[in-house]
């Protein structure tokens, strides 16, 4: 999960944040890290680029990107499966 946090910070240009600043279960959007809809799209790009996982649509992202933990779980579940 630490690697994933680093990747999120790099992908979203969260320059003032360190990986340890992001809690495993902290909400990523609005009330948590304050990410927005464009960040959600960038996270979809991140999954595709780093893990070769392709999300079907932006709506699906809502549950996947709830927290770093849900994201990591999704990656574990889908890695290696051909979804393209």
């Amino acid at each position: 999960m630490a690697d994933l946090k680093k990747q999120i910070i790099a992908q979203l240009n969260l320059k003032d944040l360190k990986p340890e600043d992001i809690g495993d279960d902290q909400p990523l959007f609005v009330e948590g890290l304050g990410l927005d809809s464009i960040d959600a799209l960038e996270l979809i790009v991140l999954l595709q680029q780093e893990y070769k996982i392709k999300l079907a649509n932006a709506e699906e992202g809502q549950s996947v990107f709830r927290s770093v933990r849900t994201m990591a779980q999704y990656i574990t579940d889908h890695q290696g499966k051909s979804t393209a």
């Binding site: 240009n13 969260l14 320059k15 003032d16 944040l17 464009i38 960040d39 960038e42 680029q49």
Partner: protein, 214 residues
């Protein structure tokens, strides 16, 4: 048509590694830094706590920081309603800088965050979000800065009571060539204010040029 008098209550410029407010240099960046690094150093100097800046393209950062500097010590919401404050900007190359960067990203996976900035009026959006301006805004593209046109447009907004405060100016950025000059125009005079005339716009625009020479 009543020609209401308006006033330039502050102006600022950011160009060639220098940032000026009301004709005085307030910050100079290191030599040989690129646009992005210079703007980051200016952001740190201004002490604005706004990490979203890192997500912006250089044109938006430039416009954003020029306005941060312009509004130093001011909070327009103390004097005006959000609907009474607006922005009118112009430049020559629209969002070409972001267009080029986005095109480069297309080779791999197109970046949504870069695409967002492929329109020049996003600069206005970023500034409006920061300062809660909800009044009229427009972005004009012209080869050179057109003082007479900017004066006409902003004066018209004031004379029709569409706005009581307006930030106007020139925000141009392509790669390592960047220049922002912005004016705060208000319908009330303040200490040190200049009349909002074509001549004054012209003078302060030239001054911003001159100061950054050499």
């Amino acid at each position: 048509m009543k020609d209401e008098q308006a006033y330039i209550t502050a102006y600022s410029s950011v160009a060639r590694r220098s940032a000026c407010r009301n004709g005085n240099i307030v910050f100079q960046g290191d030599e040989n830094v690129n646009t992005g690094d210079f703007l980051t150093s200016l952001y740190k100097y201004l002490g604005a706590d706004y990490p979203k800046l890192y997500k912006m393209d250089n044109l938006s950062r430039l416009g954003f920081l020029a306005v941060e500097l312009l509004l130093t010590g001011r909070n327009l919401s103390e004097n005006y309603n959000p609907e009474e404050t607006g922005i009118v900007l112009s430049n020559a190359n629209a969002s070409l800088d972001a267009d080029v960067n986005y095109m480069a990203s297309v080779k791999n996976i197109p970046s949504p965050a870069l695409f967002v900035y492929t329109l020049p009026n996003i600069v206005i959006g970023e500034i409006s979000i920061r300062h809660h301006f909800k009044g009229e805004n427009a972005f004009f593209v012209s080869e050179k800065f057109d003082e007479a046109f900017m004066h006409f447009y902003v004066t018209d907004l004031f004379s029709r009571a569409a706005l009581k405060a307006c930030i106007c100016g020139w925000v141009e950025c392509f790669r390592d060539d960047y220049k922002a000059v912005v004016w705060l125009v208000e319908n009330n005079s303040r200490e040190g204010a200049l009349p909002f005339t074509i001549d004054q716009i012209h003078k302060s625009y030239l001054l911003s040029n001159g100061e950054t020479n050499g």
